[in-house]
């Protein structure tokens, strides 16, 4: 019986995820995401949202979702749906945290855990990982590369 109760609870827990719709609240789950004017990678930039930002869903199209920042609705645009989650993200800058939420801030496999790993294993080459992450392709360079190579620029 306990087993069945768990399954029912899981279903109830997942219900809100299954039916994401306009008006729903979601959270940005990537470090930063550019707000675009349309559903294409090269659509013009309207602003930026950051990890843990609370947003309201306005519309969905393909793999893109149109959102507005809850605290500042004039800040709106399209971002990849994959950059959003229904699960509230507790980050350092999240405001109005309850005591229990505060206790969770920064927990998990995070920068804090990485620091602990660095202390334990001085031989790990995080310096080279940082170097790898310095590789960055600007939008203009990428577009030029795509056009020159007769490749596709994505929808929108």
């Amino acid at each position: 019986m306990k087993k069945y109760t768990s399954i029912v609870l899981i279903f109830l827990f997942l219900l809100p995820c299954v039916f994401a719709k306009a008006g729903d609240t979601m959270y940005v789950n990537v470090k930063e995401s550019i707000l675009k004017s349309g559903t294409g990678f090269f659509a013009s930039k309207l602003g930026t949202v950051y990890y843990g930002d609370t947003v309201i869903i306005l519309a969905e199209a393909g793999k893109w979702t149109q959102i507005e920042l809850k605290e500042n609705p004039s800040n709106k645009g399209w971002i990849p749906t994959a950059n959003l989650t229904k699960k509230k993200i507790i980050s350092g800058k999240t405001q109005n945290l309850s005591e229990s939420e505060l206790a969770l801030a920064g927990k998990g496999f995070s920068a804090e855990v990485e620091d602990a790993m660095k202390q334990r294993h001085g031989e790990l080459r995080f310096d080279l990982v940082d170097k790898i992450e310095d590789n960055y392709v600007g939008d203009e360079d990428l577009l030029e590369f795509i056009v020159e190579g007769n490749l596709y620029g994505g929808e929108g």
């Binding site: 279903f11 827990f13 299954v18 855990v113 790990l124 992450e133 392709v137 190579g149």
Partner: protein
Amino acid sequence: MKKAKSLVILLGSLTLLSFFFSCESISDFDTLGRVVSSGIDAGMAIAKAAEPITPEQEYYIGRSVAATLLQSYDLADEVKLTAYLNKICMALVIHSERPELYNGYHVSILDSDQINAFATSGGHILITRGLLSCAENEDALASVIAHEIGHIQLQHSLKAIKTSRSSQAALATGGLFLNLTGNEDLMDLADMMDASINEVITTMVNKGYSKQQEYDADAAAVKLLFDAGYNPHAIISMLQVLQEKQPRSSGGFAKTHPSAKQRINEVNKVLKKYATSPEAINRNKRFNETVFL
């Protein structure tokens, strides 16, 4: 009891149906799918079952995996070629469901003659000089990168982490029922990280992914190549070169992958749906100008 059972079956079916029809665009679809089945199998507590690995955790696990791999390899100092590979990578990922990850995708070259490539859940794609030298044109090079993107997006490296451990970590992370404070808890998380990294590295370097995972990464690569405007059939030419070179390569790629011949057979089934397109002249030109290995 019977009534409860029917209710469970009904709710279960509804959940599954909802996944098929409406949850596909949500990033943690795959993880949630696994959560449902593991929840049923193990009868886990909901706090454990309902916590997928978040993109942030994917990223930090990936960073530690890369930092571990890079104890054994140096990065090649090839600025122009590295920039070229990163452009190819971006030209591919912008067509995928996950164009950005937590902190994007980054390609680097490993200064090694082995024929091998690694991809971490943090978006780090590491390709050896040896493997790069097997590519005859940009489209073939793109097929290597697309295969690695496939591994990342299908979360293959994370699947190497034992289920018990990920639920343990999820419990600590989600913290719905735990109040984690203090240094001791941080050390517990670092222990879990240590163990998880070991499991990922063991699979990635020693055991290799399953054949099915390799075939799935190839199939994902074909779709990405096609969507980006590359010739998806270029993956065959790349695999043919590997087939010739593999016996001479000790360790590396040959050890961790199914044979190139097996992969050619499997990917040919997928390629039937895609027409061959010629490599663009400009792509060949810039390839020849950039690749000087």
